[in-house]
């Protein structure tokens, strides 16, 4: 397994585009996650100009344990950048025809797929680690008092965050394998949310119970938008078993479709 991961990393680590896109992703992730307080101050200033007051100290954005859910939700928004890297990585194998040569040289088709999936796992774990570190540091800085029990609360958002990223990278990998051309795949990746929204809007009146099981929707349901809780609204600030199962099921389906397609195709 480790050997397969090493093979895929060997392909990527000398590829300039990989460093640019991943650099962009992890820098945005790190700085973006850490700059929430500055954004709030900016917001407060704007409010002041209109003669209103926004007491940013009343919003415990970075206080333990709120910081975990807040960071995880916002970080999920830029997973598309990482997914684009995954698309480039897999479609390159088709345009350069290196997939064909890898098989000729002695990889099995499932090994090839596994090497790509393992890279997805690694990228997802790195995102988790990054957000955990940023959360830990900012939490230490902004929390009025630091209690271990509060730090350890809500940590289940990290496995959920891992699922979210890995789900989306699996989806990107599947699209790449099905379409094989980078431009078209990236466009479809970007449009997926819109297409799903159109479909769900149309079936809303007939089978509303089905909607939570749509793939993109299942991600939104896994980790809900956390900010309304600061406007005295009730939110689901925990992870439910049902949403986890839905997301895992979709992830398995995506990877199985990749496997099925790869196994049957002439390459």
């Amino acid at each position: 397994m480790l050997h397969l991961l090493k093979i895929d990393l060997k392909k990527l680590t000398s590829y300039r585009t990989f460093w640019i896109v991943c650099g962009l992703y992890f820098l945005t992730l790190g700085f973006g996650a850490a700059s929430g307080m500055e954004l709030l101050k900016l917001l407060a200033n704007t409010f002041e100009k209109f003669g209103q007051e926004l007491n940013i100290n009343r919003i415990p954005l970075y206080h333990f344990p709120d910081v975990w859910m807040n960071l995880v939700w916002f970080s999920g928004l830029i997973k598309i950048v990482l997914a684009i890297m995954v698309v480039i990585s897999i479609t390159n194998e088709y345009t350069y025809r290196t997939l064909r040569q890898n098989i000729i040289d002695g990889m099995s088709r499932s090994q090839f797929l596994l090497s790509k999936i393992l890279t997805n796992v690694l990228l997802s774990l790195m995102s988790v680690a990054m957000i955990f570190v940023v959360g830990l540091v900012t939490g230490m800085i902004y929390s009025p008092e630091i209690r271990i029990s509060q730090m350890l609360t809500d940590l289940e958002f990290f496995p959920a965050y891992f699922l979210e990223i890995f789900f989306f990278l699996s989806y990107a990998l599947m699209l790449g394998i099905l379409i094989q051309r980078s431009g078209l795949t990236i466009i479809l990746l970007l449009l997926s949310q819109m297409v799903e929204t159109i479909i769900t809007a149309n079936i809303d009146n007939y089978v509303p119970w089905l909607i939570p099981y749509f793939p993109m929707k299942s991600i939104w349901n896994l980790i809900e938008f956390p900010l309304p809780r600061y406007a005295f609204q009730e939110i689901k600030d925990y992870i439910t078993f049902g949403t986890v199962v839905t997301v895992i099921a979709w992830t398995l389906v995506f990877n199985y479709i990749s496997y099925f397609k790869l196994k049957r195709a002439d390459i």
């Binding site: 064909r100 098989i103 002439d266």
Partner: protein, 298 residues
């Protein structure tokens, strides 16, 4: 002799097109096996099936008596159609990657680079290589694992005469080490120069297979001239003559099987005739190839 490759009833259809039609073939250890056929005759498709990148419609094949698997493929070095590498990686890095895939020690890399004379350019990006260098890197990569079998598909395609000569020398060098080589080509001359055995494919059908040496056996023509009267009758009296034609002032004597130019020369001498011109012409594989293709048309 040990069978390296055995193909039974192998067929590939792309929709309505039958690219490979019910092929049966055996390749033995140590053969330099040529797959000869015009463009589109199904050579690459056949090799693609043998390397598991094209799924057969029907039929089977075995390497070294084993069912096809990725482990078996590691014992085969193959380049199909074009050299394929990661363009943004250097030659060296590409080979390191292939060594990982083939699970062979990277210590072989300097040796194969030396063999194909790419050592000096090994750290340049693959995309900066000339076509000849790309072909040579592909051969280096195929040899990386010291494979038992080497498969080359049109290895001289698109090369200039010097590049062609280099690659052919390289193939002969590798064949001299006793490796089994399967060479697909649409060039007769190439198969004739390099191969010990050959098969001819036409529109997906295997229409001939056998040793290259046999392809020219029994088809010797002797060009003779002597300043004597009645040479024609004398030649007709020779037991090995199958037919005589007269061209550009010379007699063209086609010989029967098991007769050769020495027999004819001795015969003439014994009848008191000394030829002042006696040239042996072997019928080339090219004529064979054209004849076989023409026959298959009927």
């Amino acid at each position: 002799m040990e069978t390296v490759l055995s193909i039974t009833n192998l067929t590939k259809k792309f929709g309505r097109l039958t690219a490979v039609n019910n092929i049966n073939l055996e390749v033995k250890r140590g053969q330099v096996f040529g797959m000869l056929g015009p463009n589109g005759s199904g050579k690459t498709t056949t090799l693609g099936m043998l390397m598991s990148v094209v799924n057969p419609t029907a039929g089977a094949f075995s390497w070294f008596g084993e069912l096809p698997s990725n482990q078996v493929r590691k014992k085969i070095g193959a380049v199909l159609e074009h050299p394929i590498f990661y363009p943004y990686l250097s030659g060296q890095k590409n080979l390191e990657l292939n060594a990982m895939i083939k699970e062979c020690p990277p210590e072989n890399i300097p040796n194969v680079l030396e063999l194909v004379e790419l050592t000096e350019r090994k750290d340049d990006k693959y995309k900066t290589y000339s076509l000849g260098m790309k072909q040579r890197l592909a051969i280096a990569s195929a040899l990386l694992n010291d494979p038992t079998v080497l498969i080359l598909d049109e290895p001289t395609n698109g090369l200039d005469p010097m590049g062609i000569a280099e690659i052919r020398e390289l193939i002969k060098k590798i064949a001299a080490n006793g490796k089994t080589i399967i060479l697909a080509s649409h060039l007769l001359d190439e198969v004739q120069k390099v191969c010990s055995h050959f098969a001819i494919l036409k529109r997906g059908n295997l229409i001939h297979t056998g040793p290259v040496a046999d392809a020219s056996k029994g088809t010797e023509t002797i060009e003779v001239h002597a300043d004597v009267e009645g040479l024609n009758e004398l030649l007709l009296n020779f037991g090995g003559t199958s037919s005589i034609a007269r061209e550009n002032g010379y007699y063209q004597v086609s010989l029967r099987d098991s007769f050769n130019s020495k027999d004819l020369n001795r015969f003439l001498f014994e009848h008191g005739v000394v030829a002042d011109h006696l040239v042996t012409k072997r019928k080339s594989l090219e004529k064979m190839f054209l004849e076989i293709l023409a026959e298959a048309n009927h």
